[in-house]
């Protein structure tokens, strides 16, 4: 049975999602870094991926783009994303920047972190997407870090 859990950690602006996969970490890591495999699973019928390119080395770059699909986010229907590999420790850790054309700030470098932990039955996979609320350091009234903001969001939205 597929079970994913998704939480927002209250002390930062990250989205955290986990899943368990019945395969060794090396096999999972390959799927995360081999562009011939990425194009086969990192896609969706509602907006199919046109290409996936990845150079899985520290400082290596990746990019992908989708066809125009049925999904629209922020007025965008052809999605493009690119970034740079920030950390790489096969088969346990993969971290890259994530710069997406559907963000209001198309230059904003958010960060995606993949953590693979082996267990008796396969691999626990955790992906953390952070920086979704970061502002550029130049902005004067950004106080940096914002405990409780997401708790506040929850409060207002659940009202």
């Amino acid at each position: 049975m597929t079970k994913t859990e998704s939480v927002i950690t209250p002390n930062n602006d990250a989205i955290v999602t986990e899943i368990h996969i019945a395969a060794p970490p090396e096999r999972v890591f390959q799927a995360l870094t081999d562009e011939r495999e990425l194009i086969r699973w990192f896609t969706d019928p509602s907006c199919p991926v046109k290409f996936w390119e990845m150079d899985p080395r520290p400082g290596g770059r990746y990019r992908y783009a989708t066809e125009k699909g049925t999904v629209v986010v922020n007025g965008i229907s052809e999605f493009k994303c690119h970034g740079e590999i920030l950390e790489l420790d096969p088969p346990h850790l993969l971290v890259y920047s994530w710069i997406a054309n559907w963000h209001d700030d198309k230059l904003l470098p958010t960060v995606v972190r993949w953590e693979l932990t082996p267990d008796a039955n396969g691999t626990q996979v955790k992906v953390t997407h952070s920086g979704l609320a970061q502002e550029h350091a130049a902005r004067k009234d950004y106080t940096g870090g914002w405990p409780g903001v997401l708790e506040m969001l929850k409060k207002f939205v659940e009202k």
Binding site: I19, W41, D104, F156
Partner: protein, 131 residues
Amino acid sequence: MRNRSVTYSPEATFQALADPTRRAVLDLLRRGSQPAGEIAGAFPISRPAISKHLRLLRRAHLVREHREGRNRVYHLNPEPLRAVDTWLDQYRNFWKMNLTNLKTFVEAEHARETNQRHAAKPKKFQRRSLT
């Protein structure tokens, strides 16, 4: 994210929320609208400082003001917060979907590769114990 002619930018909303005083102002307004003077009175900082915060919250559309007699009265507009929650929700769903796809793909490939390895192995001569 659009509401009539207003676009709620998640990043502008986050920036407005990044300050603890502004968050406290919003918390105050959750309980009901307040005139500017009452809001300022609830905080140990100067009136101009509170005015600056209220301006920023107004620009982010998190609060609205109207006049009641001589007073400027502020009330909360929760729509940008709902818009941010929707945006974060889209990302939650995006990652859930990608993880599910990853799992399906890797487990199928792994099973196929494991079967191929077993099929390719020469059958071992099975030693039987002589009893």
